[in-house]
Amino acid sequence: MAEPGTIEIQVLRYHPERDEAPAWQSYQVPFTDDMSVLQGLQYIKDEIDGTLSFRWSCRMAICGSCGMMVNGKPRLSCATFLRELQPGPVYIEALAHLPIERDLVVSVDEFVAKLAGVKPYLIPREQRSLAQGEYPQTPAQLERFEQYSACINCMLCYAACPEYGLNRDFLGPGVLALLHRYNADSRDGGRAQRMPMLNAEEGVWTCMAVGYCSEVCPKQVDPANAVNQNKVVSAMDYFLRFLPRSGGTP
């Protein structure tokens, strides 16, 4: 029988140099009402098993490091509390659909490569001199892209997305939301350069509007909206592409 104020945490362990396959390991963790899952893992590492590997940094849901599956759902461990998960056991695994490097650490290489590929930076429409000053932007113009800029690259949406799970070539919710963030920014003129990524099968067209990505996003980015509103954009680009465009701007 568990002691009062203790909770069982089961972690899916995997050290590639010694393990054939991942295996569950159980720990008894004393907890208080204010403890996050992250703090539970830190207790395990500090007091019970120093070999446990997991990423974390800010412990306040802004760095995006501590994403993992908690009882089958993609969560930030710093923003998930042990008291919610009573009486336990709490099952913790690495984020779904992503290659496991070690224990709860997944590879972010694919994500980073895809993100770099969509040109996630402002591409000016024309050359601008310092003398011209800053870009004025109205609150309405800011609102058009601001929520998408809140993405912390935590990849919970990739663990959530079944279409990504079925097809790892999909650019995915996070990357497409960030692509949209730049297209939607009034300061940006790079939409034409980003269209090929949207228009590809691995762009918006793998999405089936399941919507779980937006459910799990800890920053309310709503990637499902970013991806699906671009289906109309992509379709219009498909059907109108042979029409002559004026001036060379999209």
Binding site: R144, P162, G165, L166, Y212, E215, N228, Q229, K231, V232
Partner: protein
């Protein structure tokens, strides 16, 4: 990924939404058969009408009705996700507003269709 959709109620609801397509296809087939029978003459058409009166056909259509209603409900739930941000009077229109407007449109369309049917088929 096997059985992924069984692992969370959210995914089960998604799959349920997707299965409504079977009902839409079934009804399209029923209508197509109707058109064919209509073109084949009165006897064939009466045969199609008689088939619609059988218990199996009635049961099927109750199921199709439920599925169509679920399709309509879930279609407008997802519709705001497919739209760019909308602003009215400088304020952002919430997705829920768009969903409810869609449901309202569906109810109105159904009532209008029923009114038409009352006029034309009576």
């Amino acid at each position: 990924m096997r059985g992924w959709w069984r692992r969370d109620p959210f995914f089960m609801r998604y799959m349920l939404r997707e299965t409504t397509a079977l009902a839409v296809l079934a009804y399209a087939l029923v209508l197509t058969v109707g058109f064919v029978r209509l073109a084949q003459g009165e006897a064939a058409w009466d045969g199609w009408l008689a088939a619609l009166r059988t218990p199996w056909a009635l049961l099927l259509h109750f199921v199709l009705l439920a599925a169509m209603a679920l399709h309509a409900y879930s279609w407008f739930v997802i519709m705001p996700k497919t739209m760019p941000m909308m602003f009215v009077g400088g304020r952002r229109v919430a997705g829920a507003v768009i969903t409810r407007a869609g449901w309202a449109a569906a109810v109105l369309a159904a009532l209008a269709l029923y009114a038409l049917a009352r006029r034309w088929l009576s």
